[in-house]
């Protein structure tokens, strides 16, 4: 049979970001895929050579504009561990709330892009209209729509008043109602089912052997969620990881649909439980330079992220490393692409929720 090589990317209508997969085809069927990344490789990790640890957080936030808040938070958590800083309670709760708002933002963004990839532009528009609500909340509370810069080593930079928090909750409830309608379209529309059901099936065994994380693993029946570890106040929140068992593209959509509602519930609990009042302490700024190392794990919208920070007692860190969820999900993506039809490749790539700037740093 004749083999054809089709380069997918770096510039492709479904990809907002550049990645290249050389797809090796036999007729319409993909038999192999070779990834090439590096189009967005900035060498950000090596900027620790020239950027002091106090400022590096602002660089780390710009690993990715979608999970910007969580990247900043992970960096600060790592240095707080190394420098033994206790973060004030209210700051911890605010971080948790912002982290969950980020998750809603990211999932709505992805649901839109996913809808666009299977040709449902109307749904794309609806998802992004709802996302603007979330960005509004971000802008009101942090000052930025996509890059927030509210995390500091030792706490957060801004407080959100109790009245503002109550208003956020009202907005999220409204959003939740609107979202239910959109979610039902994803779940029931026959044309969506036609494109996604049974496409790109990842078995639980393969999910483990390809080391998948996040919604990708949860859609294949693995109940992995870093938040279950209980760190960063998640032990005070009542929640269950969202797990689907089908392992196909629709299951990955379903996980994210349910996680949006879950996150709204988590934010509701958090606002309920956090210490109230004006003028509560927000940060404990550490003194001196860090020495030591730390691994930090967080559950980002795309899955588990691992940060490694090594400091040697000077103001420049020795090593900063972020292993982002998309990087961990690439082996699974390659496995899924093998054996599928060429027309399904965009949907499969989209359902891992690729974030290339995270992957390459």
């Amino acid at each position: 049979m004749k083999r054809t090589v089709i380069p997918f990317g770096p510039q492709h209508p479904v990809l907002p970001e550049p990645i290249v997969l050389d797809l090796i085809l036999e007729d319409e069927r993909v038999v192999d895929a070779v990834p090439t990344i590096g189009y967005i490789h900035r060498g950000l990790e090596m900027m620790v050579e020239r950027v002091e640890y106090t400022e590096m957080g602002f660089v780390v936030e710009r690993i990715c504009g979608i999970c910007s808040f969580m990247h900043g938070m992970g960096y600060c958590l790592s240095l707080e561990t190394i420098m033994n800083v206790e973060v004030p309670d209210r700051a911890k709760w605010l971080r948790l709330i912002w982290a969950e708002i980020s998750r809603i933002q990211s999932h709505l963004l992805w649901l839109g892009l996913g809808a666009d990839a299977f040709g449902f532009e109307n749904l794309f528009m609806h998802c992004w209209r709802m996302r603007e609500e979330i960005l509004d909340i971000f802008e009101k509370t942090t000052g930025g729509r996509v890059i927030h810069s509210v995390n500091r080593i030792g706490g957060v930079k801004r407080d959100v008043s109790d009245a503002e928090l109550a208003a956020i909750l009202v907005r999220l409830e409204e959003l939740g109602k609107a979202f239910k309608k959109t979610a039902s379209v994803f779940a029931t529309d026959p044309s969506i089912a036609h494109r996604l059901v049974g496409v790109g099936v990842l078995s639980p065994e393969d999910a483990l052997s390809t080391a998948s994380v996040g919604p990708m693993a949860r859609a294949s029946g693995l109940a992995t969620d870093t938040r279950l570890g209980g760190a960063n106040l998640y032990d005070q929140i009542d929640f269950q990881p969202v797990v689907e068992t089908a392992g196909d593209c629709l299951a990955r959509v379903a996980v994210r649909l349910r996680e949006v509602e879950q996150s709204i519930g988590i934010i509701r609990q958090a606002i309920d439980k956090m210490p109230k009042g004006e003028g509560l302490p927000l940060e404990n700024r550490p003194r001196g330079n860090p020495a030591g190392e730390a691994f930090t794990r967080l559950e980002q919208p795309r899955g588990e992220v691992v940060y490694y920070v090594k400091a040697n007692g000077t103001k420049y860190l020795e090593r900063f490393r972020a292993r982002t969820p998309t990087f961990a999900n690439i082996p699974a993506m390659i496995q899924l692409v093998k054996g599928c039809e060429l027309a399904d490749v965009p949907n499969i790539i989209l359902t891992i929720d690729p974030c290339i700037s995270c992957t390459e740093r």
């Binding site: 590096g38 190394i82 691994f295 490694y308």
Partner: protein, 159 residues
């Protein structure tokens, strides 16, 4: 490194149902004992909420066996440390042959490349880290006493 014990430990993680979380390398600058610098390589695994890692100190040129027989997803990390750090990983299941990142400057994260950059910065008067790091145990020996990772109850292990 002891190849047989290392691979046996890796296989234990595999049989135990652990997920590969990270393979990370850190360049250590040259010292009197190691004029070419060295690498501190960590293989980290996650199971439920436990996080453990194996750690090896690698000298440039040392052969590091691929763990892709036990953990197929390791190929991405292994290609990465080979391409960015120049660590000699052998026996990969998927060999991307230096085509993963294709950085303009070859092996940009190696001790010699870092040293060259820092020395150039110093010569040009650009503020940057010192090419001669402060003495003291900040490498593997230090790790055992370092605080536990934040996000999960963990059992950091050093090999």
């Amino acid at each position: 490194m002891d190849r047989t014990t290392f691979l046996a430990r890796i296989e234990e993680y595999h049989m135990g149902g652990w997920r590969l979380a990270l393979i990370n390398a850190t360049s250590a600058m040259s010292t009197e004992e190691q004029p070419g610098g060295s690498f501190d390589v960590v293989w980290a695994f996650v199971k439920d909420n436990a996080f453990e890692y194996l750690r090896e100190e690698i000298v440039p040129g040392d052969e590091v066996p691929s763990i892709s027989a036990s953990f197929p997803a390791a190929f991405l990390y292994e290609n990465e440390i080979r391409e960015l750090f120049g660590i000699n990983v052998t026996g990969l299941n998927v060999d991307l042959g230096g085509q993963l990142y294709k950085t303009a400057k070859k092996i940009p994260f190696s001790p010699s490349a870092i040293r060259a950059r820092l020395e150039a910065n110093a010569a040009a008067g650009i503020a940057s880290a010192s090419p001669t790091p402060p003495a003291g145990p900040h490498g593997a020996a230090h790790a055992a006493s370092s605080p536990a990772p934040t996000s999960a109850p963990t059992a950091g292990k050093t090999a």
